[in-house]
């Protein structure tokens, strides 16, 4: 037990609290507006949107550089948690019309390749190289993790290749689902809906499983 505070001490604290009670409301509001304005001007903007797809609600996001996130089989909060926490988020469909249009064409079987600028700036050079290699796999084809590693000239890196594919921020658009295990099993899939989504995508593209 701590000794109770003396009346002298209480008086002193009260004096201190009275002398430094609180800043003026106007000063608080002015400072907050200034910080918010600075944030609006300086923070990068990420536009995001939600669309319906055969795999359930599908979320897409784009930065000034290009498409930076695609996700499905998760809820909105989980998707937003994956986006750059420093960015200013704007929910808007207009900025993402090209993205959603190409995805709809893909799901309808009218498109096999995407023609969209991508923002992979958050990835390491190795991760980017893996994803670029995955883009070389033709629709309807599957490669093993080992094949991807070999194409990159790093035949011993099939495990890191798998890990890099698991960090693909734009699944479907970069077709990481076209990479499977060497024994013919599906391997893994980081998309929210898991292996059933991977199987569905490969069947849509006419791959023999």
């Amino acid at each position: 037990m701590r000794p109770p505070r003396s009346s002298d001490e209480t008086t002193l604290i009260r004096r201190l609290q009275a002398a430094l009670s609180a800043p003026r409301r106007a000063a608080l509001a002015q400072s907050k507006t200034r910080v918010k304005n600075w944030f609006t001007q300086e923070a990068p903007v990420i536009h995001w949107s939600e669309m319906r797809s055969p795999l359930g609600p599908l979320f897409v996001a784009t930065s000034a550089r290009g498409l930076c996130a695609v996700d499905f089989g998760r809820n909105e909060n989980d998707f937003i948690a994956r986006l750059d926490p420093r960015a200013r988020l704007v929910k808007e469909t207009h900025e993402l019309l090209q993205v959603t249009l190409q995805l709809k064409e893909y799901f309808a079987g009218q498109r096999t390749q995407f023609d969209l600028p991508l923002d992979l700036s958050a990835l390491t050079p190795f991760q980017k190289q893996v994803l670029e290699t995955a883009c070389r796999i033709a629709p309807g084809q599957v490669w093993s993790y080992l094949q991807v590693a070999r194409k990159m000239g790093r035949p011993k890196s099939s495990r890191p290749v798998g890990q890099a594919l698991a960090h693909n921020p734009v699944p479907i658009v970069i077709p990481c689902h076209r990479v499977i295990a060497a024994d013919g099993s599906l391997g893994g899939y980081s998309g929210g809906a898991g292996l059933s989504a991977k199987r569905w995508l490969l069947r849509l593209e006419g791959a023999r499983l």
Binding site: L16, P23, A27, K32, V35, F39, L89
Partner: protein
């Protein structure tokens, strides 16, 4: 869900402003005054630059307070040097130039607060003006809970002595 920077501003701006405003005390009005608004902007700028390095699940509030404490004491030290230079130039021996309302009544205690060592001043401000508990104060000041309590007690003792001396 991970906290976004935008929410950090919304949730904590006001208490951080009040904290900085209180720590500045008489320096808001003395020669070479430090502006609370400028300082708060600087705190959020620093926080923004380091936001990605913050681990998930970290205590954002304590982290922001820590930045505010460091930036404010750096600004106070600079302001003190500026004042010293100005006095040297004028060859005056007068103490810190205070605005008139600091020289009277309850504001006297604020002047005495200036004489406290950094950790004591921060501790007593966090405890009795920002109303934070000791575990949180310890996190902000990178010390043990016991040390935070000791700093507050020492601050009170020192303030009592200073107030008696200046009576």
């Amino acid at each position: 869900m991970a906290l976004r920077f935008e929410e950090l501003i919304e949730r904590h701006h006001d208490e951080i402003f009040a904290y900085v405003w209180r720590l500045l005390g008489v320096a808001r009005r003395a020669d070479g005054a430090v502006d609370a608004e400028d300082l708060v902007q600087d705190v959020f700028l620093r926080a923004y630059e380091n936001f990605l390095a913050l681990r998930p699940g970290s205590n954002h509030r304590a982290w922001l307070y820590k930045i505010a404490t460091n930036r404010t004491f750096t600004a106070l030290t600079r302001a003190k040097h500026r004042r010293k230079k100005a006095y040297a130039l004028r060859q005056e021996l007068a103490p810190t130039a205070l605005a008139p309302d600091h020289e009277h009544g309850g504001q006297h205690v604020v002047h005495c607060l200036e004489a406290l060592p950094v950790k004591q001043k921060a501790s007593i401000t966090l405890r009795y003006l920002q109303d934070l508990d000791y575990p949180e104060i310890a996190r902000i000041l990178d010390c043990s809970e016991e040390s935070a309590r000791a700093n507050v007690s020492q601050a009170i003792r020192r303030l009592r002595v200073l107030l008696k001396e200046e009576r």
